[in-house]
């Protein structure tokens, strides 16, 4: 029963997607927008399939983008989890660091691009720094929240068992924070994709961002749209993968 309705929902979402494609096709066919700017869907997909492999293909650009995004995201997540746990556990650290964090947090990551260029130049490190800076905040805040919201009763259980501080953090505070950390990492990954593209635009690093920019400057609308579609594919795949990992790790909450 549930299976069947899930399948219907899935069919529905495929239908909406097909409808959008068809609308795009109609608008492109009607000539309302110049072909120079708007490629029809079949051309866009052809640009992907024809130009995917090879040294200058979209495939290698896509791979470069995925790698850059993942490096930045993993770096941000590791630093975010460690720092967030420390801040979440220590009330003193919270008092000292909270005002500074509240000041830094709302800064748009793209605003620090010029700063990053000043420090790192137009380099791969600059792009990585910007990605990591942007996707760091959601993870950090989630970790602080998760670690500091442990049920006090669980700390009493730990005390009654004479568990060391390290054991308490490792076996109680961190697992307690896991759902929050995952939510933060999910947001962080979306931010990382955005900043990867921004970084590639600005830093001129190889990747889908630069590919799209170049195609648009050369009036290669199909290739430009192909690049955008591939970015969408990256975003969608990441969401699917992360929610499956999440469902497995958080299976203890499933029946709530």
């Amino acid at each position: 029963m549930k299976r069947a309705s899930n399948f219907l929902w899935f069919l529905g979402s495929v239908g909406v997607f097909a409808l959008l494609l068809f609308g795009w096709h109609l608008i492109a066919q009607s000539g309302m927008v110049s072909r120079v700017y708007l490629a029809p869907p079949d051309k866009a997909f052809a640009a992907i399939t024809n130009g995917f492999t090879g040294p200058n293909g979209l495939g290698s650009s896509m791979w470069a983008t995925v790698q850059r995004m993942l490096y930045g995201w993993v770096l941000a997540s590791m630093v975010g989890i460690v720092l967030g746990s420390i801040i979440g556990i220590s009330a003193i650290a919270r008092i000292y660091l909270q005002p500074m964090l509240e000041f830094l947090r709302p800064l748009p990551a793209s605003a620090i691009v010029p700063l990053a260029i000043a420090f790192f130049g137009l380099s791969e490190s600059m792009v990585l720094f910007v990605i990591a800076f942007g996707s760091f905040w959601p993870v950090l805040l989630a970790a602080v929240q998760g670690v500091s919201s442990v049920e006090p009763r669980l700390y009493e259980v730990a005390r009654a068992l004479n568990m060391s501080r390290r054991e308490t953090i490792w076996k109680i505070a961190l697992p307690n924070a896991l759902p929050d950390i995952f939510a933060g990492m999910r947001i962080g990954l979306a931010v990382a994709l955005v900043l990867t593209v921004v970084g590639e635009f600005v830093g001129g690093q190889n990747g889908l961002g630069l590919e799209i920019l170049r195609a648009s400057r050369q009036f290669q609308a199909p290739r430009m749209f192909g690049g955008v579609i591939l970015l969408g594919v990256i975003g969608y795949s990441c969401a699917v993968i992360i929610s499956n990992v999440e469902r497995y790790l958080m299976r203890w909450r499933a029946s709530r």
Binding site: R153, L154, V157, R159, A160, N162
Partner: protein
Amino acid sequence: MSQSAVATSQAAPEICFDGVDLSLGGLEILKGIDLEIRRGEFICVIGPSGCGKTTMLRLIAGFHRATAGAVMHEGRAVNGPSPDIAIVFQDYGKALLPWRNAADNVALALEAMRVPKSQRADMITGFLGKVGLADHAQKFPSQMSGGMQQRLQIARALAQNPSVLLMDEPFGALDAMTRQTLQDECLNLVENMGTTVFFVTHDIEEAIYLGDRVVTLSPNPGRIADIHTVNLPRPRNQLTTREDPEFLRLRRVLFDFIQGH
């Protein structure tokens, strides 16, 4: 009282409150508490809310330090939590680790006791079996009923191999049928293991049914009003024990005491 408890009752008391006062944040919670608990004894504590029942339990647990006097465990002053004293909390939903299944929740106690990993599996099976959860080792707390979760918490407490078991209204949140079943299971377990029990409850009948003695507390500040010895034969029985004239007499006395407050 079990056989072994009779034999060792001459030694130092398992738990001893010696003129204990406790103030928290300038507020006098307990005053002049004197109580000796023999090894293997089942002590129940009742009293109106706010009389310091749970605070007494937390003193034995080492969560609070007496402001005056001393709490002794086997002749030594309690100055912090010890794995030899296990606690079963009322709110099982908060006291279990929701991300660990039943077996791993019991494992938490064994890990804290530094039991080698190779020995844990058999012990876990044993403790889960004792509380009737042998077939539910892989279930997470969220997949268990309240009664099962409380059984799991008892299994975790037993895994500490404690000499003293502190129970803070452990069956208060359960339905009547489950509560009676767990009362009997609990009596069986602690009798077999020779564990001393300090049992806080607000249920007069439960206190009489389980206890060797029932301590009544008066509030503001909490102090011992009276100590009643329960002269009812063991093993207790949910029907005959509760119909015994002695049971009914104690029920009347304790009911009048609670009404008086």
